[in-house]
């Protein structure tokens, strides 16, 4: 029976399983349906979870750090409150000037109105940032290049546009050197992005967490010169008339640093502590002035980027799968025990308990696979429903190969789990007694 005999036996068990399943079609369909529904709902919600909690920039997520500094004056400082997400322009510019990280960028989201050569003016989502942004976030270019630090310093009238905007305005041709009319000013296009979208848009979660990348990128200094509208969280204290002024007491700029080696991370942390100590000495505040340095995944976790509704749905679906499995256990138990006669005959003819156990598990596995296939179809349907929901992440939800594989593993595992108890009971059917009682 052992060794070469095993595959033959599995084939025989498969044959037995198919016969047994065909014999009681209603019960079989019930079991397959129960597993399919459980797997379908679980995989739908797990896929959503998988997509939303994914690493948006896997090759660099451990090297990119969001910088937070608590520079609130004492009367706005609340002990125990979290370090704010954004920096003031004064602090962001100071850190940028020191340039102690391998790369660094400050930025803000905005909207700007662009007047094309033909057609109506367009209101576009924009990002105002500094030169390192594109290297730090591994932004691909189709045409041209990013602006450089010199352009930041000289407030150059330049812009980088997205592939989509390039298609819309220039029919997809190389538009570098062309001008972009913004109000009464014009910006020279120096680069066109390739396909690039970060989901979640981790570098700035305050303006729609999921969705396409911005359409226009402009040096922050240029955007301030042109008084382009910013968007996002603006948190001010004290009396001020211009929230974008160099010394305005307003938190509104996102600041990212790229730190490629563990030693630079330690050094950068120390540098930030020193910076805060200087600010304290300069009399801005008397509290300790905490800092916060989070890498991409820590940052996403801290901001709770997976919607709590999605987490709730996962729990709900797993509970649902549990009920479907209980259901399957009950039905398999009924099915196997109803066949006590047949099993006791096989036992009397010399089949070992192990063989009976295997035979039952194979039958459960067949049910599980069938349930998995139907469940996959149901999950596909579920994902179509999710994509039609009015949420900002709806368009991103796709099943990838790893989730496809996970579906079958989950289906097979759960049906084997469900088959375990019934198979255990079945293998304890005594040969003689069962024959007698029949």
């Amino acid at each position: 029976m052992r060794g070469t005999g095993q595959p033959v036996m599995i084939g025989y068990y498969l044959d037995l399983a198919m016969r047994s399943l065909k014999r009681n079609k209603v019960l079989t369909v019930l079991m397959v349906l129960a597993i399919a529904v459980g797997i379908g709902t679980s995989m739908t919600t797990l896929t959503v979870m998988h997509v939303l909690s994914g690493d948006p920039i896997p090759q660099k997520s451990a090297d990119l750090f969001r910088v937070g500094l608590n520079v609130f004056p004492d009367d706005n400082f609340r002990p125990g409150e979290e370090v704010p997400d954004n920096l003031t322009r004064r602090d962001a510019e100071a850190l940028l000037r020191d340039a102690r990280a391998d790369r660094q960028a400050m930025m803000s989201a905005g909207t700007m109105v662009v007047t094309p050569a033909q057609g109506d003016p367009l209101s576009l989502e924009s990002r105002y940032t500094t030169a390192d942004f594109f290297t730090m976030f591994a932004v691909p270019f189709r045409f041209g290049r990013a602006w450089d630090r010199g352009d930041d310093g000289s407030h150059a009238r330049v812009a980088v546009i997205s592939a989509a905007l390039n298609d819309q305005l220039f029919g997809g041709r190389d538009s570098t050197g062309s001008m972009l009319q913004v109000g009464s000013q014009s910006l020279r296009i120096v680069g066109v992005l390739g396909d690039w979208s970060m989901n979640p848009r981790f570098y700035d979660l305050s303006n729609g967490r999921f969705g396409d990348s911005e359409q226009v990128f402009v040096p922050l200094a240029t955007a301030l010169d042109l008084h382009l509208a910013t968007s996002g969280t603006m948190n001010c204290w004290g009396n001020n008339s211009d929230e974008h002024a160099a010394d305005a007491p307003c938190l509104w700029l996102q600041y990212w640093a790229e730190l490629d080696a563990p030693s630079t991370r330690v050094a950068y942390r120390q540098y930030l502590h020193n910076y805060m100590a200087q600010q304290q000495q300069a009399g801005r505040f008397t509290h300790p002035g905490q800092i916060r340095l989070l890498d991409v995944m820590q940052w996403l976790d801290a901001k709770g980027v997976v919607p709590s509704d999605v987490r709730l749905q996962v729990w709900l679906a797993l509970g649902f799968l549990g009920i479907c499995l209980l259901n399957t256990v009950g039905l398999l138990l009924a099915k196997f025990l109803r066949r006590s006669g047949e099993i006791s005959v096989r036992r009397a003819l010399g089949a070992s308990r192990r063989a009976i156990f295997m035979q039952c598990l194979v039958e459960a596995g067949v049910v599980g696979l069938a349930g998995g296939v139907c469940g996959l179809a149901l999950a596909g349907l579920g994902l179509v429903l999710v994509r039609h929901q009015p949420t900002d992440y709806a368009g991103l939800i796709r099943m990838d190969p790893s989730m496809l594989l996970a579906t079958f593993v989950l289906a097979l595992l759960s049906s084997l789990l469900a088959g375990l108890l019934p198979a255990w009971r079945a293998m304890h059917v005594a040969p003689a007694v069962a024959l007698k009682s029949n």
Partner: protein, 410 residues
């Protein structure tokens, strides 16, 4: 119906009976909590706005080139919109109820207190109360001579010239009750910063925040007499009869475009759409929960049908013997119905405990309130009904077993 023989039979089928009980318990627990969650969502979606939602339109425009005098621009636009046939009233506002993005401020009762008393949203703009249909319950609406230009106010803030700041405000009844419980709020002062004090001149019945995520603070709202220019992404709010809104919106957009073809409309929608958009996640979640409850009940019912059929088939001989010994069809029918009722009752009992546990978990992780006791009997009745409906088919089949079966070999 005698329960004892049923119990002794069940004792011999501990495992299958136990599985069924567990399935019913889990279903009961999840259904109780899911129904509760649906109730929570529906309640949220019903949050009152305090404005005449079915009569309002929102239009947001952006200028391509900054206009000469943004204040004059707004007055021209308002005059233009008032001319549009069907328009009853027009307002200019920095934000709209359930619009999402909002302007907020900390409110102090004493200019020297270190911590804020509460955080409230601030509406600025002219003609808001009559246009939106906000009801005043005490005092008066803002008047023309209360209003100050935003730029004048900002300059005053910087130079410390308090004369050029607004001096009065409207607040909601909820906010008044939170600040001065049981007292008359009219004439009292609140402070936005230690130097900016506002006197309450009117109390509104209700006006919801643009970002009303928390029902407890959804009504902490002020309306401050600040006049704004056309350069800050503000909204025109138009009131018209519900049936006229589509034509009024089209005509208003045409009028604005004719006045200046060089600007673009960034938002144009009715307030029904504003509300629908704001609560879209809640509606989606409620839909999903309804689907899950339906699927759960169907799966559990099918499980009961499957197991009951198995039991009936297994006990055909016993049933035949009982029938031969004088039991009527209805005795057999009742036997299986009572058996199911017993199992369901045990399952429901366990399910209640489980439901309570799940609720505790949700309270900890999702900031939900405690499950009200009313959900327990509702869940129990639902599962009893499902169980009885599911068992009816197999029980009828059992009742149809003829007494002659007893004489045949199984």
């Amino acid at each position: 119906m005698d329960i004892l023989p049923i119990l002794s039979t069940l004792r011999r089928h501990k495992l299958t009976a136990g599985l069924l009980v567990m399935q019913i318990a889990l279903t009961c627990a999840i259904v109780c909590n899911a129904v509760f969650l649906i109730g929570q969502r529906l309640q949220r979606m019903d949050l009152p706005s305090g404005v005449a939602e079915h009569e309002l339109l929102q239009i947001q425009v952006a200028d391509v080139v900054k206009s000469g005098n943004p204040y004059a621009r707004v007055q021209e636009d308002l005059a233009l919109l008032r001319q549009v046939p069907g328009v009853q009233s027009v307002a200019f506002s920095n934000q709209v109820p359930f619009g999402g993005s909002s302007s907020n401020g900390n409110v102090l009762l004493d200019p020297n207190q270190p911590q804020r008393t509460l955080n409230a949203t601030t509406y600025f703009g002219q003609n808001l109360v009559p246009t939106m249909g906000v009801q005043m319950v005490a005092g008066r609406d803002l008047q023309d001579d209360d209003f100050v230009d935003v730029d004048t106010a900002l300059k005053g803030l910087k130079t410390g010239d308090t004369k050029s700041l607004p001096h009065v405000t409207l607040i909601t009844r909820d906010m008044a009750e939170r600040l001065w419980p049981g007292q008359n709020p009219l004439g009292r002062l609140i402070y936005l910063t230690p130097t900016v004090g506002l006197r309450v001149v009117g109390v509104m019945a209700s006006l919801v925040r643009p970002n009303a995520y928390d029902a407890n603070t959804a009504q902490y709202t002020m309306v401050i007499p600040l006049r704004m220019g056309a350069d800050r992404g503000m909204s025109y709010v138009i009131r018209a009869r519900p049936q006229d809104r589509a034509s009024v919106l089209a005509a208003a957009l045409a009028a604005l475009r004719k006045a200046d073809p060089q600007r673009i409309v960034t938002t144009q929608r009715s307030f029904d759409e504003v509300r629908r958009h704001f609560f879209r996640d809640d509606r989606a979640m409620a839909g999903i929960l309804v689907g899950v409850i339906a699927a759960l009940l169907v799966v559990t019912a099918l499980g009961i049908v499957g197991l009951a059929s198995f039991w009936v088939a297994q006990r055909r001989r016993t049933i035949g013997v009982r029938r031969a010994l004088g039991a009527t069809r209805s005795d057999v029918l009742h036997y299986f119905q009572t058996e199911n009722f017993l199992l369901a009752t045990i399952g429901i009992g366990l399910g209640m405990v489980l439901a309570y546990g799940i609720n505790l978990f949700l309270m900890q992780h999702y900031e939900l309130p405690r499950l009200p006791a009313i959900y327990f009997p509702v869940g129990a009745v639902a599962l009893w009904l499902i169980g009885q409906v599911a068992v009816l088919g197999p029980a009828l089949r059992a009742a149809a077993v003829p007494p002659v079966v007893a004489t045949r070999a199984g």
